[in-house]
Symmetry: D2
Subunit: 321 residues, 4 copies
C-alpha cells in the first residue's frame, strides 16, 4: 500500500478507544473469547435443529489458486510418496507390502481460512493486553494463536448476510457497512444479534474469487467490509462479541474512507478489545441454506491448529444447524 | 522397517475380509463417515451436559519437538515479519502505521494430529472404493482428505481409556488389545459403545512423548494398539464405526504379532471398510475429566484442513461435554 | 502453453536426428561434457590474460523478484536467527556469547541460474543415453544433475553477443537465430567458435527483466533464442559443443516457429546429444567488457550444487579472462 | 551447547585482537577477499599443470543424510513433476509433447558446503567492518554473502593435510592444531603457504561422516580444528589469508580448550579480519591425488549462490591442478 498524506496515526485515531486489557488478568491471551463460557457453549448447542453441518474453510492449494492477502503466497502441497514410487521400485518395503501416499505443505499460517493470534497486529509497540511488541520477534511468546487453539471456539453463531441485504451477489470493492447496518440486516432476516454471539458476516467477496481469473481478483485490491467509528467499537464492546468471522481476507474495509488508515479495526477490536478475528471463510452455501430455512443462528465450533508461537493458524470452522 | 521372512502379503491376509466398496456409490470418497447422518449429529449434540470443551490436537512446532512417524519431519514455523523488522526500518509502511507479525510453516500433512485420506494406504493397486492406486500419483484425485474436510465429522464420540482400564499410565510398547477388550473397558467405565459412535481410544502413548527425551520415545519404535483379527474387523463393520481416533501415531499396533504384517488395520478398516482414521490426538486431559465426572460419551466435532489432493490433513478436534 | 493444432510430435520431428547415446558407455550421465578432457581444461586455462573475474548468476530472492519460467516460484529466503533474537532474549547462549544469523531457503532447483540434468526432459519415455523415463519418478536415479556437479565444467568459453550483433539491447520476443548467425556474429567479433568450446550466447533477455515491472516481463511470455533445424543439430554434433549457456530461461526460442513445437532443442541437443544446458545466466557486464577489450574467449568454470537426484541445480558460473 | 562457568566473553578475549575494519573502505563487504586481485588470479592460474579437476562440495539431500551443524536440518528435495505425472495423465501438454521433471528444495543456507557471509557472526552488536548487528535482522543488508558471490573467489589454493601429517585417517574429536603445525605439515608436504593463498585444511572429519551411522557422528559433537591464540591471529593477518577452507562444519575446534569459548576464530578471523570462511568441504579425494603427484598448490575457483540478504550460501568449489 502506498503512503497517504495527512493520514493520522493509529495511536492518534484510537487514543480514546476502549481496551479490555487486564480485564481477564495480566496473563490473558484469548481476550473476548473469555466470554464463551460453558453457559455460552450450552446456548450454542441449544440452537441445533436439523443436524445439518457446514464447513467454512476455503480449499487450500487449489489448482486455480487460493484467495490470500497480496504479498503472501498460496499454500503449496507436494508429494513425497505415492503409487509411482512403488511402480518404479523406489517405495519402502513394509512387512505385508502396505503401500502409502505421503505429502508435505509449505504455507503461510494466514494463507487460508484462519484465526489471527490476538498479538498479530499492533501499534505503539504493544500488542493485546499490553504485552510488549518485542514478544513477537522470532515467534510469538505472548498472545499467539496457541491459547486460542487450546481453548477452542464454541458458541452461538449468527450469520448476517450483508450482500443479500443489499440485493447483491457480492458487495462492491471498498463498500462499507457498520453495526447499524448489521442490525438492520438482522432485523430483515428475522434474527437478533445477541450479546456474546459469534458474529459472522457475509459479503460474497471470497466466493467471488472463484468466479474470475485471479489477476482480476487482485487487481486494485480493496475489500468491502466493516468500517471504523467510535460507535461501532462501543457496540462491539457492549455486545461483548467474542469473535468476528467474515468472508473477506481482512475482516474490514481495506482503507478506512474517513481517516485513510489501513485496517483500523484490527487495532480497535483485536488489539484493544481482544476480539478474535476469523478471516477468509466461505459463507455462500451456508447463507443460501439459512435463507432457505430461515434459521440464521446456530452452533459454531472452530479450533485452529495449535501452532506454537504462531501469529495465526488455519482452521476449518464447523457450523451445526 | 526391515523385511521379515515368511510374512504373508496383505492381499493374502485380507482376501476374505469385508469391504464397503460401492455401498455409498461408485464415486464415494468419505466411506463410513456416511454413517454420520443428521440424525447422528443430533444424537451427538444430545450428549452435551455441562458445556465443557476439550481440544485434542498436539502442539505443532514445539521446541521439544512433536511426536511423528519416524522418517517424517516435525513442522517448522518461521517468521517473515515481526516487531524486529520495524525496529530496524525493514517493516512495510501502512497508512496509520499498523504493525503486524506474519509467519510460514513447512509441514508434513500427516505430521501432527490428522485425518488420513481414505486413499492414504492400499495394497493390490487399489485404494478405498476400488479407485486405482495410480490416482495417488502427484496428488490424490480420488478419496483425498478434501471430501472429509468438506463434510466435517460430527457425532457421538465415546472415549475408551485402555490405559486406565489396565491400571497403567501408558500401555507398553507393542501391547495390544481388541474389540472385546474395548467392550470390557467400556463396561467398567459404565458406558456403552453404540452403533455409529466415533470411537476414541486412549493408550497414553502420545502423552508419554512429553515425559521423556525424544530419542527415547523413538528408540525401538513400536506402538501399542488395536490388533488385527477377522472378528475385530467384523465388529467394526457391524457396529458401523465411522471414525477411529487414538492417541497413537498409527491407530494400531505397529506390527501385528500374529502375522508379522505392518499396520494391517489400515487396510482392513480404512481401505476396505472406509473407516476414517484420526491419529496423534492427545487424550489425557479429556480422560481425566471423564474419569472425574463419569461422562465418557459426548459431542465430537472435527474438520481437517481442506487440502486439495492431500493424503491427510491436520486437525484440532473438539469435544463438547 | 495452449495446445496447437497440427503440431507434430517430437518423436516425429526428431526421428532421424542424431544421438550420442552409448558413445561414452551405457552408464554415462554427463554426455557431451565428456569432451571436456584435461586437455580442454588446459586449453581453457590458456585463455586467461588479465585476471579479470566475472560471475554469471542472477541474484536469488531479490525484492523485485527473480526471472523464472512461468509456473515456478521464485526462491524465498527466511531468517531463523538474527540480531533481533538476542535483543529480546530468544537467542542461544554459546560460551563467550558468540551471536550469529541463520537462514533457510525454499527454491525450485531450476528457479535461478542452473544446470539442467541431462535427464531433465524427454520424449518417447526415454531420457538421455536411453535410460527409462521412469527413472525420473520421485527423484532422478539416472542422468541427474549430480554427476555434472561432481565432474565440474571447465574449458574454453566463447561469448557470442547476438544482441550486439543485431544492434539491439535485447533481442525481440520470439526472435530467432541459428548456427550460421552465431558464426557470422563471431566473425564480426573477431573470435572463432572452436570445437569443444563452451558456447555462451547473449540475447539481453535476462538483463531486460531488471528494466521493467515483472508483470510486463512475463506478459505474453515468448523468449528469443536458437531455433531448430537439422543443420543446426548437425553443427552442434560436429562441433562437439559440451555446454550451451544463454541469458534466457530456456536456452532456445519458446516455440519453434516452423513446427510449432515447444522447446525442440531441449530434446535434439540435450536428450539426444547430451549437450549440457546452462540457463538464466546474466551476461551484460561480461559482454560489455569483452566488447571493450576485444577478448571474447576465456576460461569458464562452473559447478552446480551436488543435489542428489536433482533434475537441475543452481550454479554461479565463473569466467576468468 | 551448555553454558560454562568462568568463560570470558569474546569481547574480553579479543579486546586487543587486530581488525581490518575500514582497510578497504567503510562500505566494504568482502574483507580479505580484496587481497585476491587480478594478479592473484593470474598467480593461481599459473599453478595449473595437468588439467585435473576436483569439486569439493558434499552431496546435498543424500539418502544417508548430510553432515550439518546440530540444530539445522538437512536439505530436502521433492519432485513436483516427473514421468509418473504423464503416466497417469496429470502432466502438462506442451506442443510436440515434451515431458520434463521438476523439483524443489528446502534447505538451510549453511546446511551444505558453503561460504559464510562476513556478517554471519558477531559480538558487541557489530559485525564485520563495524556495521551494526541490527543490519542482520530479517535478512542481512550489510556484509551478506551476496557481495562474495558477485566477486567470486579465484586464486592460488594450498592444501594442508593435517590428518595425513599426523598419520591418521581423521583427526580426533576436539584435536587442535595451529599455524605452526600448518607450516610444519606444509614443509613435510614440500609446499609453502604463501601470502594471499587460499588456505585449505584437511582433517578428514567430513569424510568420516560417510563411514558411520549419523547418530554416531553427532554423538558428543566436538570437531577437531584450528585453535585460537593471539599468535595465530597475527599470522593470518600478516599472511593476508583471504579465505579459510576446511572439511569441518565450523572451520575451527568447537570449544577453545584454553578459554572455554565456542568458536572464537569466527570472531577473530571472520568478524575482525574479514577472512572468508568456507565450511563442510570434502577433501579426501583431492588430498589423495596431491599425495600421489606431490602437487599441493593449484588454482581454486569458487562462487557461492547469489542469495540476496543471505547469511551464507551453498557452493561447489572447483580445484584445477
Amino acid at each position: 500500500m502506498g503512503e497517504v498524506k495527512d493520514v493520522p496515526l493509529l495511536s492518534e485515531l484510537l487514543k480514546d478507544s476502549p481496551k479490555n486489557w487486564g480485564k481477564w488478568g495480566a496473563d490473558d491471551e484469548v481476550g473476548s473469547l473469555n466470554y464463551l463460557t460453558s453457559l455460552e457453549v450450552i446456548r450454542g448447542v441449544g440452537m441445533v435443529r436439523s443436524g445439518k453441518v457446514f464447513t467454512l474453510q476455503v480449499p487450500m492449494g487449489a489448482p486455480e489458486g487460493d484467495p490470500i492477502w497480496p504479498g503472501r503466497r498460496t499454500a503449496q502441497r507436494v508429494n513425497v510418496m505415492d503409487h509411482s514410487h512403488y511402480q518404479c521400485g523406489k517405495g519402502p518395503h513394509f512387512p505385508g507390502e502396505l503401500h502409502y501416499a505421503d505429502d508435505m505443505m509449505i504455507m503461510y499460517l494466514q494463507g487460508s481460512t484462519q484465526y489471527d493470534a490476538l498479538g498479530h497486529v499492533w501499534y505503539d509497540d504493544q500488542i493485546y493486553n499490553g504485552f510488549e511488541a518485542e514478544t513477537t520477534t522470532g515467534g510469538m511468546t505472548k498472545a499467539s494463536v496457541l491459547p486460542i487453539a487450546e481453548k477452542g471456539v464454541v458458541g452461538r453463531g449468527v450469520l448476517i448476510d450483508m450482500a443479500r441485504y443489499r440485493l447483491k451477489n457480492v458487495l462492491d470493492r471498498g463498500e462499507t457497512f457498520d453495526h447499524e447496518d448489521l442490525m438492520a440486516a438482522a432485523a430483515q432476516q428475522g434474527v437478533e444479534i445477541k450479546k456474546h454471539d459469534i458474529l459472522i458476516i457475509r459479503t460474497g467477496f471470497i466466493g467471488s474469487f472463484y468466479t474470475m481469473p485471479s489477476d482480476n481478483f487482485y487487481d486494485n485490491f480493496v475489500e468491502p467490509g466493516l468500517t471504523y467509528s467510535p460507535e461501532l467499537v462501543s457496540w462491539f464492546k457492549d455486545m461483548e462479541i467474542p469473535n468476528l468471522v467474515t468472508d473477506t481476507i481482512a475482516n474490514e474495509v481495506t482503507i478506512d474512507p474517513v481517516s485513510g488508515i489501513a485496517l483500523p479495526l484490527h487495532s480497535a477490536l483485536m488489539r484493544n478489545l481482544g476480539v478474535a478475528f476469523t478471516e477468509i471463510t466461505i459463507l455462500d452455501e451456508l447463507a443460501d441454506d439459512c435463507a432457505a430455512d430461515g434459521q440464521w443462528a446456530f452452533l459454531y465450533v472452530a479450533a485452529p491448529l495449535k501452532v506454537v508461537g504462531g501469529s495465526g493458524a488455519p482452521v476449518n470452522p464447523v457450523v451445526i444447524k
